[in-house]
């Protein structure tokens, strides 16, 4: 674990640095994929960048709105670089909405755009697993196995490594699949299969984690959400493979 990277007087959070690198590599791959799919690749980069910036600003503003009476007395604190003061779920929702708005405004073809973003999604997952390994987050359940990781006072499942291996597998599968000349999937299918694969991996691997958010009668929230995503992606892939829209082809 290397949660902090010291550069002279500065202490940089390694996890944040890895995530930034992951997003950068992901966007680079998305641009290349957009070029391969023969549509304006700069729009894909701008769409993802718009979503990221809007998500970050939205997460902070939402948090500020939740604690308005405190920030009114100290408005400059809005710019405090503390990840603890981000409303994360709302930030993700705002980022997705901003990206969708950008796409609609520039009339980007939905399915091709999603296909171009598929590798960025996988690379971000790999970076996220690496970041969690560096920070010790997303830790596994206690387990005495030859490959267990000693973390937070106990031997545990190396859940971060599991997630990285799964995401690397999905990336490998995506890279192999897009090289196949014989079988060209309809637009959007590539994205849906990547999303379904990542969701299936999360459903399986979440069981080995020890920090799951629990809802209802012991259900792991990430598993339930991923199950929904898996079902939706697979069902949608059946419909989209039958009915490609003319604007997307």
């Amino acid at each position: 674990m290397f949660p902090i990277l010291r550069l002279g007087p500065f202490a940089i959070q390694t996890a944040g640095l890895i995530l930034i690198l992951g997003v950068w590599v992901g966007l680079w791959l998305a641009e290349r994929e957009a070029a391969r799919l023969k549509f304006h690749n700069e729009f894909v980069y701008n769409l993802a960048f718009t979503g990221l910036v809007a998500g970050l600003i939205g997460a902070r503003l939402w948090y500020v709105l939740q604690h308005l009476q405190v920030y009114v007395l100290d408005p400059l604190a809005i710019f405090s670089p503390t990840p603890a003061t981000l409303a994360r779920t709302e930030g993700v929702a705002i980022g997705l909405m901003a990206a969708a708005l950008y796409g609609v405004r520039h009339k980007l073809p939905l399915r091709l755009t999603l296909d171009a973003l598929a590798p960025a999604m996988v690379v971000t997952m790999i970076a996220s697993a690496l970041a969690n390994l560096a920070s010790g987050d997303a830790f596994g359940a206690p387990a005495q196995l030859p490959w267990s990781l000693y973390l937070w006072g106990e031997y545990r499942h190396p859940s971060q490594v599991y997630e990285m291996i799964a995401a690397l597998g999905v990336l490998r599968g995506w890279a192999w699949w897009r090289r196949q000349e014989r079988w060209r999937p309809a637009p959007g299918i590539s994205f849906l299969w990547v999303a379904a694969s990542l969701a299936a991996a999360r459903v399986f691997l979440e069981a080995f984690r020890s920090d799951s958010v629990i809802v209802g009668e012991g259900w792991r929230a990430a598993q339930v959400g991923s199950l929904f995503l898996l079902t939706t992606s697979l069902a949608l892939s059946k419909f989209w493979s039958r009915s490609p829209t003319s604007s997307d082809i």
Binding site: P3, I4, R6, A11, Q13, Y63, Q66, H67, V70, Y71, L73, D74, L76, A77, S80, T82, A84, T85, G136, W152, G153, E154, A200, V203, F204, E206, A207, S210, D211, S212, I214, E217, G218, W219, R220, Q223, V224, S226, L227, L230, T231, L234, A235, K238, R242
Partner: protein
């Protein structure tokens, strides 16, 4: 069975298998968090310690159970530590009666008691200044950077970790507000 039917069959099998695994993996929340060992990270019990005060006496962290406790690791030569100390003082003054305790743990093993005393005097700090002479608490809390701040709830669980600083009063107030409203 044609291609389309085979596709739907494949989807249904995968979704059912995933749903079964999700059902099989259910676990009571208390099983996940109830047996955790003390560690300096969010959602874990805070490592306990006993340290001497700058002005005599000592404090054991676990004796403060029932209060919201801010443990701030600092040193007199650390500029961000100096910048955020007034915020802790204001927070302490405003919320002490609601059950807030602030423990400023001086990294004395890499500082000096004289400098710590001058520092506290200059800033007029009234909350307890504790002396980590041997670096025990710094090791327990895996100190990586100064300042480091740990916000602990009334049941002794770390709820927020802020590495680096200076943390603003508003940031700290928003982090402790919900914890102060929880029942002891």
């Amino acid at each position: 069975m044609n291609d389309s039917q085979r596709g739907w069959f494949f989807i249904i099998v995968i979704v059912l298998a995933a749903a079964f695994w999700t059902w099989l993996s259910r676990v009571p929340d208390s099983t996940l968090s109830g047996s955790r060992l003390a560690n300096p990270r969010e959602d874990f019990p805070a490592p306990d310690f006993t340290l001497d005060h700058l002005d005599g006496g000592s404090t054991q962290l676990s004796d403060l159970r029932g209060n919201v406790v801010i443990v701030n690791l600092w040193a007199s030569w650390c500029a961000p530590c100096r910048a955020e100390m007034p915020a802790f003082q204001k927070l302490y003054n405003a919320n002490r009666e609601r059950g807030l305790e602030v423990l400023a743990v001086n990294s004395t093993f890499q500082d000096s008691e004289t400098d710590a005393r001058n520092f506290a005097g200059q800033l007029g700090l009234t909350y307890p200044i504790l002396l980590d002479r041997e670096g025990v608490v710094s090791r327990q809390y895996r100190l990586q950077a100064l300042p480091s701040t740990f916000i602990i709830d009334r049941s002794g669980i770390i709820r927020t970790v802020i590495i680096g600083g200076p943390a603003s009063e508003a940031t700290l107030q928003t982090q402790i507000e919900a914890l102060l409203n929880e029942s002891p």
